[in-house]
Amino acid sequence: MRSKPKLLWIDAVSCNGCSHSFFNIDLSFLDDFELLYHPLLPSGDFKIQSSDILIVEGAIKSNFLRLGFDLNELISKLFFKAKTVIALGTCAVYGGIFGEGLVFNKTSKGKFFKCKDKVINIPGCPAHPEWLFYVLNMLKENKKIVLDELNRPVEIFSYTSHMGCTRNEYFEWKVDAKRFGEKEGCLFYYFGCQGPFTHSSCNKILWNEVNSKPRAGTPCFGCTEPLFPKENLFQTETFMGIPANIPLGVSKRAYLTLSGIAKSLTNERLTKRLIKCENEDKQKDN
């Protein structure tokens, strides 16, 4: 029998959100791993040691103490003693709010760029627990995880978070949400939704198995992307009324042509409220 993979989970500069996100799936599969250390779950005492899989949660940053060590030195030591490194969450992948990522620092090269071959990036703020579940189990079973140019698993990050959004029909017909708190309308034009150009599968592999931000009326903030969090997260950046960022893979000319046509051909059904309250008209009169 093969021995269990040794798993070491270290928290760098983080909010622990990726750990708490991870707690939302059935953790009994961790029995197949030897958990050397985790910042919250019971494990052996922390020591610098070799591991088969090192999970780094959080960003790296100078002059930051962790478990009595300088954080950067600690991560370096653990990194080089690990066979595979999982950068978990946008902080560990790109730096996020708190610092620098391992392989990338926002859109430039990070401290561990030269060793990127042993790193698997799982961005997200937080990372979706099933994404990590997938990577850990693939590693355990010695299966090949196909990665993209940013070392992200293709099976998860070849999607956009727009795919599968329940508001897709509104996007198609260019019916824009004009106010928050309504199930109707697309959040792309006025409210900063980054779904059409954000790599993630949030609307395919749902959150907590039931929902996603755009389904709940909150725009996608692009939390899996290198520049998260951008400025003005609830507003769409436009140049002369034209969205500064357009769906991935389409030319601006093609997108403008298509959206102009869609806008000209009104979809009557989508311009009305889906469900009308009996006393809604009465309320408006008052």
Partner: protein, 384 residues
């Protein structure tokens, strides 16, 4: 005198405890060394960005930071929200408190005395069930931003509400098995089999500043001041004194909790009991509120931003949480956060100790970890 310095981990983040004394704790200093700089990060950003950034203060209680952020902006602009939005907010933030308490009890506190992996897995299956209920309303948990100034972003159907209500009832059954309505808890009994219920008494001085859920403020947040310490966190004082905030402070009026308090004062046991029992009180409150939702009310009411300042407090899992903001041209000029851990785990002198310092002093050194953690330390919040 011997000084024993130890790093307390397996909490949210980590703290350093410097214990003076050999067997008995003469004095203890509490240090936090992981500053992250969220308040600075917010400066010059659009005020709405705070709704995305502030939840990232903390992975376990970020939703409370979201509520506080929306409320402080509403306070600055003078915005009112619909009853529907208010009830939904109470449900999701109330549920966050419950998941926090379960994780704290089984994942943080329990293993300091009893290692039982099955308990941890069982407790996490309950908290993930709670996260799912929150997600039906809020989109996801952790780290959603569905609470916004003026209301909430979601527009639920009756089916969603029915589902939430059914799940809340199921949750009630699950919580009954942790601690029942009479306050009986096998897991709590097991924890105290080898321990004195009377240890870890604090200052016996309590403070409640938030008014969400069923909580009633006992103080005025304008009297709260921050003070620098040797480490990277700040102390929080009320009228220049230290006070204990949290579940014990805000539930002292409840007959059952009051009777435990009368027997054991503000000991570790009372503190833990109050925290566990609070889950029932919150659940009762939100189950009562959910039937009052009028689906025809708007989820969001529009408003006009203006240059202004705001300051509010809410009751978060660990106690009173204060956010204050200064907005100019829709941008954040100043943002300040004071978290419950700053109140409970301030670092002061032997003569004027904070609640946690007072609770540690004169106790056996072997209980230091347990006493410290019974305050439900949030180091990541503390070092925002």
């Amino acid at each position: 005198m011997k000084i024993n310095k130890k790093i307390i981990n397996k909490i949210e983040g980590e703290a350093t405890l410097k214990i003076y004394g050999d067997k008995v704790i003469e004095f203890a200093e509490i240090e936090f060394w992981q500053y992250r700089g969220i308040e600075k990060y917010l400066q010059n950003r659009h005020y709405m960005d705070a709704l995305v950034i502030n939840p990232r203060v903390c992975g376990i209680c970020g939703h409370s930071h979201l509520l506080a952020t929306a409320k402080v902006i509403e306070n600055a602009f003078g915005i009112k929200v619909s009853k529907k939005a208010e009830i939904l907010r109470e449900i999701t933030t109330g549920l966050e408190i419950i998941q926090n308490h379960i994780k704290w009890f089984y994942v943080t506190l329990y293993p300091t005395l009893i290692q039982d992996k099955s308990l941890i897995l069982k407790s996490l299956s309950i908290t993930s069930f709670i996260a799912k209920i929150i997600a039906v309303i809020a989109g996801q948990f952790p780290h959603n931003s569905y609470i916004i100034p003026g209301g909430v972003t979601c527009d639920l159907t009756n089916l969603d509400i029915l589902r939430v209500k059914e799940d809340l009832k199921k949750l009630q059954e699950k919580i009954d098995k942790i601690i029942d309505k009479n306050g009986d808890s096998n897991d709590l009994k097991r924890l105290f089999e080898k321990m004195d219920k009377n240890i870890g008494k604090g200052l016996n001085r309590f403070l409640v500043l938030g008014d969400n859920l069923y909580f009633k403020p006992t103080g005025d947040l304008t009297f709260v001041k921050e003070e620098k310490t040797k480490s990277l966190s700040k102390n929080a004082l009320y009228k220049d004194e230290f006070f204990e905030v949290g579940p014990l402070a805000r539930n002292l009026h409840h007959p059952l909790i009051k009777s435990v308090y009368e027997n054991y004062q503000d000991s570790v046991y009372t503190r833990i009991f109050a925290r566990l029992y609070e889950m029932h009180l919150i659940l009762e409150k939100i189950l009562n509120e959910i039937d009052k939702i009028d689906m025809c009310e708007p989820s969001f009411i529009d408003y006009t931003p203006r240059n202004s300042e705001g300051k509010i407090a809410i009751e978060a899992p660990r106690g009173s949480l204060i956010h204050s903001i200064e907005i100019s041209d829709e941008k954040i000029k100043e943002y300040n956060i004071i978290v419950p851990t700053q109140f409970n785990l301030s670092n002061s002198t032997k003569e004027k100790p904070s609640p946690a310092q007072a609770a540690l002093i004169k106790e056996d050194i072997k209980w230091s970890d347990f006493i410290f953690k019974c305050f439900d330390v949030c180091a990541v919040c503390n070092t925002h």
